[in-house]
């Protein structure tokens, strides 16, 4: 991932203080920190507060102690939603990572027509999620959609959105289709940063394309994989729009993932206290998952992938 960090030394011609290696003072981060506090920390604090309240959005919130939280741990719907969210996240990761990685490595090359094809691959990311969801919804209409004609060729029941497994897989597929270009881009950038000397040395040593990929490209992309995975996992955990438009959590509750359950509880049932508890649980799970990922992948230490060079 190319990180354009033009140092102020070069740009403004200002001399940075000695010992402060071209890095701007902390004060520069102030607008960002304020913005983050106002739009992320404060709402989060309020959500945590609300998770201990009963609130219908009209009257003032009233404290109910830990009632929402005890309900959360006993609620079969929450358990199902948490399981579905995990499932969706896993499927999304398994589906997106290999494809995006290979596409990204390919796109980092210098082949003919690479630029044109890359531009085409990028298109899904430019479309709005709503438009994509409605598009697929129309394609998958069991009576009039393309699936009616094409599905049977591959042994797919046109009623794919009507089956529990089919609906969940479709949601994962549509999300993957949309966000794969983004991850491809990350991998493309990551691959481009791998020094050519490594490949040249490998070639001299007689390593073929596959050995080069598994012994140079893949290890060098370690941090990129972590970045992409964290974004993917957090993205999948909070994936909501497609569910709302394509399945509305159904059939039954079989695609009611955590964010959708939160939405339903908060904005259809108007049980905003309980919805806040679900939201807080989601924050905790997502944060924990990404911390674990960052810690165990060695990404947190920010060790350079170019050690020993």
């Amino acid at each position: 991932m190319s990180h354009v960090s033009s140092s102020p030394k070069v740009r403004g011609g200002r001399k940075a203080a000695a010992g402060n290696v071209g890095r701007p003072p902390v004060a520069w981060a102030l607008p960002g920190i304020l913005f983050f506090a106002l739009f992320a920390i404060v709402p989060l604090a309020i959500a945590v507060y609300l998770s201990f309240c009963h609130w219908d959005g009209l009257n003032s919130p009233t404290s109910v102690g830990t009632a929402n939280w005890t309900r959360l741990f006993k609620d079969p719907e929450f358990r199902q939603a948490a399981w579905l969210s995990l499932l969706l996240t896993t499927i999304s990761w398994v589906f997106q990572t290999p494809v995006a990685l290979l596409l990204g490595v390919w796109a980092a090359g210098r082949q003919r027509s690479r630029a044109a094809l890359s531009a085409i691959f990028f298109i899904p990311l430019l479309l709005s999620t709503t438009a994509i969801a409605m598009l697929f919804h129309a394609l998958l209409d069991p009576n009039f959609g393309v699936i009616k004609k094409i599905g049977p060729w591959f042994g797919i029941d046109p009623n794919i959105m009507g089956s529990s497994t089919g609906a969940l897989l479709t949601v994962a597929f549509v999300g993957g289709w949309q966000f794969m270009p983004f991850h491809t881009l990350i991998y493309q950038g990551g691959t481009r940063q791998i020094p050519q000397v490594l490949y040249q040395a490998a070639e001299i040593d007689g390593a073929g394309m596959f050995r080069q990929f598994f012994h140079i490209t893949l290890p060098q992309l370690r941090n990129t994989i972590t970045t992409s995975s964290v974004l993917m996992i957090v993205g999948s955990l909070t994936y909501f729009d497609t569910v709302l438009i394509m399945t509305k959590g159904g059939p039954g509750t079989d695609t009611t993932v955590l964010p959708y359950l939160m939405y339903r509880t908060g904005f259809q049932t108007y049980d905003l206290g309980y919805a806040a508890a679900i939201a807080t649980a989601l924050v905790v799970v997502a944060t924990a998952l990404s911390l674990v990922l960052v810690r165990f992948s060695g990404f947190g230490n920010m060790r350079s992938t170019r050690e020993g060079m």
Binding site: P43, L50, L58, N143, G162, L237, G252, Y270, L291
Partner: protein, 437 residues
Amino acid sequence: MRSGIFTQGKRAARWTAAGAAMVMAGVLTGCGSDGGSGGGGGGTLTAYVYGDDAVKVQQAAVKEFNKTSDVKVKLVSVPGTEYVNKLRSAMGSPSAPDIFFNWGGGSIKPYVDANQLVDLTSTFKNDATLKEGFLPSIVTAGSLDGKVYGVPMRGMQPVMLFYNKTLFAQNDVQVPKTWEDLQKAIKTFKGKGITPFALGGSDKWPELMWMEYLLDRIGGPDVFRKIQNGDNSAWGDPAVLKTAQTVKQLVDDGAFGKNFNSVDYGNGGAPTLLNKGKAAMHLMGSWEYSTQLGKAPDFAKKDLGWTNFPTVAGGVGDPADVVGNPTNYWSVNARTKHKDAAIAFLKTMASKSYAQALVDNGDVPTTSNAASMLSGSPNPKFATDQYEMVQKAPSFTLSWDQALVSQTATPLLTEISKLFAGKSTPEQFVAAMKAVK
């Protein structure tokens, strides 16, 4: 997983987790504060209305009213899918509308409980225009605990059984009047590879209509009335179980075809099944007529038939009973600074010119003077049938999702969806509804 991720640098990756989840959390606390400036100075009345095709009738009424009134009405048309949420957020904020569109019943109960609405009971009693202007059953249907909070402002929307006339003629099937007729029709159509009933199951609420009519025909309107009045144990009434069992039977018999779960109403799935001759019947609100008129005008004019929901064997409900949305109402925010002007505006809803505008739009007004105007409707036969159906109905049950408060209505839609999808049994449905608090 939106554009937010693009603003995150590599270094911030570890914060992305918290960040993304917080956006979700942030959504929770963000009370919508846009929209009309509620009751502010300068003599403006903000009115929220459900933004669909019928808005033009209200727009014309507002324009007319503003010509003579000092206090001007400002109409805010909120797109349909956003309406309920936006209203809810606005009513909890300082910038609430002065007047707003609603469905009566449970849709206004939270506001009534929070003392946010003007009680219009005495206004109705003392004002001849309002008192005699509307069909009494319609005013009653929108009231809560015997108090009137709303003035009818749009057409009636009873749920009717629509059918494809050509298919019935081709296959020599009678339009069902009884349950036996219905079962015969199901069998015949199924045999010919035609789906007996189109059903937009992925939208959930079309399934609700089946429950509403079945419960009425099986147990009469009182069963749901008890539920509506907050008696949750009434879900345990044997008629509810029988209703759920009948639904299961219909699903198992293939009355809705195999893939109704992934068919929707909103994007035109179910109506298209009917007008393409792939399904024979469609239980739907009276707006189905204008939907078909928009999608397949020839079909709507020639081949679209409509009738009452049939009787159910052994049921005690009156076959003339109707379910659906009696109409929509305007309610007045108790915090408004221009209550008199608001009521003056609401009175124009009873006027002949307003009713005429509704009729011209293809709607059937709920005003008492409507009957004579219907001959001028774009489709006089449909309008008259509809008006008579409602006028003759001993009971008009408000759609359950509007009659119940959202705390019950949302789980209800989920449970019904599970029942239709075969994810829960009729017994589980009853148990789940009894447990809703």
